[in-house]
């Protein structure tokens, strides 16, 4: 167990490699109750959310839809990245646990611009269990019924199982098909056991923080504090497709427009290295003898079968095929820029 943002969480139940493969090939479930949940209410809740995020909340045309976005600061850096769920009467913001206090202050600082809007921190009352992998659909069908198949990516619905009220969303952080299930903290253990039972015929396994990190890295999903931080914009971090500069005003918009017009100060790249030693966070990225960036996340790509890393370099060095090096404990190991992501699931079936 390790402490993570004040929570005791298992790094692994068995082995990170085994857990990673279970999620890529079968189904695993994760306790991600550490995530923060804010509920935004009021007549102008939508306007408030729209002003605080870089994506376009108007894309949530009806309740039970979600989108991925970021809070951007006035300098264009990222306060946090999050999911926004439109519900029947309110908006649910799911934020990173390490940023709950910062986000809370950031949101409250701008709340007075939107009369009648209220936010509530429901993080401690809310538990979240992710069910991820190609067989996740089978487990969730067994849990809530076969019609859950109709739920598309980034859609959600509410259900009751065994008397427990849950919210089921087809979202995740692994690069696989999967679901995230919201439940009141008091019912979390019962739901966990229920998922374990329903998942047994499909070989479900509990997954720790270690595999959560290697899975998201292989799929090039950013981790706040690594690929995103207060001085890195979502565009620099290869999330530009979620930034809607033409949606109207939002915090940070001017700086992001400036970045687009003048060119990005830095750009996220995927690197594949050619040595058994792994590239890790903080290791220098080099061109010849010159440091041109730093690794933000690195590990063995467990499914792809070779070391992988993310890091920032100048845009002119960010083209796939560019040869660079990562300095690993004093040795320059050849590295090549590759297209993102390292792993993409087969969606043909």
């Amino acid at each position: 167990m390790v402490e993570f943002a004040g929570w005791n969480m298992p790094v692994r139940y068995t082995s990170t490699i085994a857990e990673h493969m279970v999620v890529r090939q079968g189904v695993g479930f994760f306790d991600v109750s550490h995530m923060g949940e804010f509920v935004v209410t009021g007549d102008h809740a939508k306007d408030f959310v729209q002003y605080m995020i870089a994506n376009d909340v108007e894309k949530l045309k009806e309740p039970n839809r979600a989108l991925y976005t970021q809070f951007v600061n006035y300098e264009g850096g990222t306060v946090d990245d999050l999911l926004v769920y439109r519900r029947e009467r309110d908006y649910l913001l799911v934020v990173n646990s390490a940023n709950i206090d910062k986000d809370w202050q950031w949101l409250n600082r701008h709340l007075s611009l939107f009369p009648g809007v209220k936010i509530a921190d429901e993080s401690s009352a809310t538990a979240l269990i992710a069910v991820q992998g190609p067989k996740a659909i089978e487990v969730v069908k067994a849990l809530v019924g076969a019609d859950v198949e109709q739920l598309k990516s980034f859609q959600s619905r509410t259900d009751t199982v065994d008397g427990i009220k849950i919210g089921v969303a087809r979202t995740g952080y692994t690069g696989e098909d999967g679901f995230e299930i919201f439940v009141h903290a008091r019912d979390a253990v019962r739901l966990w056991e229920l998922i374990e039972k329903k998942g047994q015929p499909f070989g479900i396994q509990p997954i720790g923080l270690g595999a959560r990190d290697t899975l998201r890295l292989e799929s090039c999903l950013p981790l706040y504090g690594h690929e995103l931080d207060d001085s890195t914009s979502p565009i620099e971090a290869a999330r530009g497709w979620t930034v809607k500069l033409d949606k109207g005003d939002f915090i940070g918009r001017d700086k992001l427009i400036e970045q687009k017009e003048k060119g990005l100060p830095k750009q996220l790249v995927g690197l594949v290295t050619e040595a058994q030693a792994l590239p890790r966070q903080g290791y220098p990225i080099k061109l010849g003898n010159k440091e041109v960036g730093r690794v933000t996340s690195g590990s063995q790509g467990i499914f792809v079968g070779h070391p992988i890393a993310l890091g920032f370099v100048k845009p002119e060095l960010a083209q796939p095929g560019q040869n660079l090096a990562v300095e690993i404990r004093g040795t320059d190991v050849p590295a090549r820029v590759v297209p993102l992501p390292f792993y993409k699931r087969n969606r043909t079936k």
Partner: protein, 128 residues
């Protein structure tokens, strides 16, 4: 359960020493260390002929989770290296005291082992 064979000596940097005949000792990492590291992906070891003092760094072990230095529990000259670990680093997880051994050294001074821990002492050290 993690095991700590009674015939081995242990040090607080989590290496073990197994004394063989003719002044040669086998060095590897303990079950506790292997468990803490998780899946081992890479073991960087010295070449035969390299000489080290006690507590010198002799290599690096890397897992999916982290990277750590390896330290000599005793001084000596490397006489053999477990070459299998370059292609099968997972042997350290599966059998750290057997097929997952790391190096064999010609011990320079076996009195250095007097300060090492017994299996019981080491077990007590790691549960703290």
């Amino acid at each position: 359960m993690l095991s700590y064979p009674a015939e081995l000596k242990y040090v607080k940097t989590h290496e073990y020493v197994r004394s063989e005949s003719n002044g040669v000792a086998v060095i590897g990492i303990t079950a506790f260390a292997a468990d803490q590291l998780g899946d081992v992906t890479y073991v960087e070891l010295p070449k035969a002929g390299a000489k080290f003092k006690k507590e010198d760094k002799f290599g690096v072990i890397e897992s999916v989770k982290s990277v750590s230095d390896l330290f000599m529990p005793i001084g000596g000259e490397v006489v053999a290296v477990n070459e299998r670990l370059s292609s099968e680093p997972e042997l350290v997880n599966h059998d750290c005291y057997g097929e997952g051994w790391m190096i064999k050294v010609k011990v320079s001074n076996d009195s250095e082992l007097k300060e090492a821990l017994s299996a019981d002492q080491y077990k007590e050290f790691v549960v703290e």
